[in-house]
């Protein structure tokens, strides 16, 4: 094997010799350059480079062989390494771009460029990497390599382990995702103990920014393992962050990770929460920093109360709005109901079949109520209270008594007034005014029309008109076939609708004034006589 390499190198050297004869100027020109004396500075201000002690730009000669070869280097350990080097990688690398590219011999021992090369002393690839990567320190002061020395097991992480060798990229051009992937190549998810040990000395000292956090957190995979055995992915989609309402286009300025998260630098402080839910419940309180009003309202809501009772699954800000991907909650309007669906799926399914839900979900109707139009947004009241029940007709009436709104759909706005005028509605209205927290079994709108599955009254399958008797029997179990006619069906009495009521009303509309006028006439004639008699009697006594 070695013999074959030697022959190849001998051949290459011949070519190189011929080449140098022609282009000997290359060597002197490159050597005459000022090298990397003009020290570059790192972002943090500390010198990143020392002067390059061994720039030897014999690249052309090296490339003659190493660019296009099938040769391999065999180590005593039995490992092999291709001798081929991709020149494009080198040229595009941090060391290849710019005005002063490094040459091969900047790292590879300068006197070895002559062919035949001296034998490689390394026992294995790793040995070889250790030897060669020592060259990095010729230029770099290696600001963080200390934390990678003398790892448990005696290993040392080399510069090239993370940065690569020929393809080394400038830090600024090194995508955060790739950096993290590099780390994760060794530091597998879950292997926290080792990672913390390794990084105990402080891996990074850069100011913390989005990219700093995203360097790790944009990597799918890593999870937090909580005491209860559950895990939580720490992945954050950078696109979500950027396009969320807190992102770049936010009028108040972009919200950064640190605005909500305390864990600023790596390594993070241990998370106290024992479960992912507990972590969420701690973390969502950050919303109150800016949204204190809504936050307080939510605390007073049915969700806040349930949380207070210990129902930890009760919705908090982030459950509805999302955490990293916060989008306008009501665009489109159906998004609201979809959000509620996350926890209230059976109710949602009911609602979706209703006349309101169908219009919202299939036609994006702007007028029908979605969940929050009836239940409120952050001040979501308990809908099972007596108060909610007694106030519910007003809730329905807020749309159904609005003639401008109902006109578009040819729906009568008499429904509310006729309800209030009837026995059920009168009682409920009185309760509302006098004792709104009393329990009442008097029918409210939703007792007859349904709660979430409200259908159009003339719905051919399950409209209330088809099932009126069954509807009555829910409260009046002894009701018989005639009984539903006792209900005036939200019509003002007329000859067409409820003619009997209309005629009775008409009768009294005539009889009452007629009686009052007649009796009033009799009374006034009597008064007239008495006044007249009194005056004439006085006159009589005076005369």
């Amino acid at each position: 094997m070695r013999k074959r390499i030697n022959w190849a190198l001998a051949f290459t050297l011949m070519l190189l010799g011929g080449f140098l004869f022609v282009r000997g100027d290359l060597i002197t020109t490159a050597a005459g350059q000022p090298g990397l004396q003009a020290a570059q500075k790192s972002a943090a201000g500390s010198p990143l480079f020392f002067a390059n002690p061994a720039a030897n730009p014999a690249d052309e000669a090296c490339r003659l062989c190493h660019v296009d070869t099938e040769a391999i280097v065999a180590f005593p350990s039995g490992e092999t390494l291709p001798a081929r080097v991709d020149p494009a990688l080198v040229d595009a690398s941090a060391h290849g771009i710019g005005e002063q590219p490094l040459g091969c011999t900047s790292c590879h021992d300068g006197n070895r460029y002559r062919q035949p090369h001296e034998g490689i002393e390394a026992e294995s690839i790793r040995d070889y990497q250790i030897q060669v990567s020592a060259a990095c320190t010729r230029c770099h002061n290696q600001p963080h390599v200390t934390s990678h020395e003398n790892l448990p097991g005696g290993e040392t992480v080399l510069c090239t382990d993370c940065h690569g060798a020929h393809e080394v990229a400038q830090v600024d051009h090194w995508p955060a995702a790739e950096v993290t992937a590099t780390c994760l190549a060794c530091h597998e998810a879950g292997d926290r103990g080792r990672l913390e040990l390794i990084t105990a000395g402080g891996l990074f000292t850069h100011p913390v920014g989005e990219n700093y956090c995203l360097a790790c957190h944009s990597q799918p995979g890593p999870e937090i393992l909580f005491a209860d055995g559950e895990t939580l992915s720490v992945y954050v989609n950078p696109d979500h962050l950027r396009t969320s309402v807190h992102g770049e286009n936010n009028d108040w300025g972009e919200i950064t990770c640190r605005n909500c998260h305390d864990q600023g630098t790596y390594p993070h402080e241990a998370i106290e929460a024992a479960s992912p839910r507990e972590y969420t419940l701690n973390q969502y309180q950050a919303c109150a920093q800016c949204h204190d009003h809504n936050y307080d309202q939510a605390l007073d809501s049915v969700h806040g109360a349930a949380l207070e009772e210990g129902k930890l699954e009760s919705a908090v800000c982030t459950d509805c709005h999302g955490s990293h991907n916060v989008q306008p909650p009501n665009v489109p309007r159906s998004r609201v109901s979809q959000t509620c669906r996350t926890c209230h799926s059976t109710i949602y399914d009911n609602y979706a079949t209703s006349v309101h839900g169908d219009a919202l979900l299939t036609q994006d109707n702007p007028d029908v109520p979605n969940c929050i139009d009836c239940h409120g947004v952050h001040t979501i009241d308990d809908p099972t209270t007596n108060l909610f029940r007694i106030r519910s007709p007003q809730l329905c009436g807020s749309c159904h008594a609005n003639s401008a709104l109902m006109e578009q759909y040819d729906i009568s706005t008499q429904v509310f007034d006729t309800y209030v005028a009837d026995f059920h509605g009168t009682t409920v209205t009185l309760f509302d005014h006098l004792d709104p927290n009393v329990e009442t079994n008097k029918a409210v709108c939703y007792d007859c029309h349904g709660v979430h599955d409200i259908k159009a009254p003339d719905d051919p399958q399950s409209g209330i008109k088809l099932n009126l008797l069954a509807t009555c029997q829910k409260c009046h179990p002894d009701a018989t076939a005639n009984f539903p006619d006792a209900w005036t069906s939200h019509f003002e009495p007329s000859l067409e609708h409820n003619p009997l009521v209309y005629l009775v009303d008409l009768f009294y509309a005539i009889v009452i004034p007629a009686t009052v006028i007649s009796l009033g006439f009799l009374v006034s004639t009597d008064i007239y006589r008495r006044v007249r008699t009194r005056i004439s009697g006085r006159k009589g006594s005076e005369s």
């Binding site: 979809q338 079994n441 409260c475 009046h476 009701a479 006792a486 209900w487 009294y508 009686t515 009374v523």
Partner: protein, 285 residues
């Protein structure tokens, strides 16, 4: 001419008791009923609150209705007793003379004739009131029964009777209260304070003015009420007692049946329990 008494007997104790029952129950019914008809008005709410809320005022209204109904049944019995046992002339039956008296009264009031008409024990105005009460009570009892027992009514009659009964109950109530306020209260309190329904006696002056014929009759020494021989009376009483116990028992049973016909018109639906928390297995899009 002998000394004429200052006051004349007008109402027996039984009639005064009947009136008291009617007066109290009617007032309670009006005060507890009208706020229900005009529930949207502020005064109505105030009144309802005063009586302890809508449920309580409905109970009071029904208790008063029961009292009024029992009083009405009692009136039917005393009327029957008086016409069957005592064979009294039914003085409340309107006659042609009542119409003439009405016209004469108006003419007198307007100054077209010098003297008021000479009227019997019950004048046209009192007969009007009596029959108005009979009519009104009948309407209110019937429609009230319908409202009290809507399910039973709908079993035998069209359901549309029920809202019509509600309309009639309210309309008749207004009519009755208006008649009482305008006519009755004017006649017995404003025009002239007439306490005869409480004292049982009427002053000579008032008798002269409104019941000249009755005054004449009493002055002739006739009894205010027909008197029978005790033997005849007792025989008839036995018959009446048997009849009245039978009929009275049936009537009382009917009243009790009427007010307890339906144990409850409505049943409270047991609260439906919906599992509000039903998270999706996979988050919604």
């Amino acid at each position: 001419m002998s000394q004429k008494p200052e006051a004349y007997p007008r109402f027996r104790l039984g009639a005064r008791i009947e009136h008291a029952i009617l007066m109290i129950s009617f007032t309670v019914l009006a005060v507890t009923g009208l706020p229900q008809k005009y529930a949207a008005a502020g005064w109505a709410e105030w009144t309802i609150a005063l009586f302890g809320g809508i449920e309580m005022i409905r109970i009071i209204h029904r208790v008063a209705a029961f009292v009024l109904t029992v009083g009405s049944v009692y009136h039917l019995f005393t009327s029957a007793y008086r016409s069957l046992v005592k064979r009294e002339r039914m003085q409340m039956i309107p006659t042609r003379k009542d119409l003439d008296d009405l016209i004469a009264t108006v003419r007198h009031n307007l100054g077209f004739q010098p003297h008021p008409p000479r009227m019997a024990k019950f004048n046209f105005g009192e007969k009007f009131e009596y029959w108005a009460v009979v009519w009104g009570t009948a309407i209110m009892a019937l429609t009230g029964f319908v409202l009290w027992n809507p399910l039973a009514i709908a079993r035998i009659l069209p359901g549309s009777i029920i809202p019509a009964a509600k309309a009639a109950h309210g309309g008749e109530a207004v009519l009755a209260v208006a008649a009482i306020l305008i006519w009755h209260l004017y006649s017995v309190l404003i025009k002239d304070v007439n306490p005869s329904m409480f004292t049982g006696k009427m002053s000579r002056r008032q008798m002269e003015e409104e019941h000249a014929l009755e005054l004449e009759r009493l002055d002739r020494g006739e009894s205010p009420w027909p008197e029978l021989e005790l033997e005849v009376l007792q025989r008839r009483r036995v018959l009446f007692a048997i009849g009245s116990v039978l009929i009275g028992g049936i009537a009382l049973a009917f009243v009790i049946w009427a007010i307890t016909f339906e144990e409850t018109a409505i049943t409270t639906i047991p609260r439906a329990t919906i599992e509000a928390f039903s998270p999706l297995l996979t988050p919604a899009p």
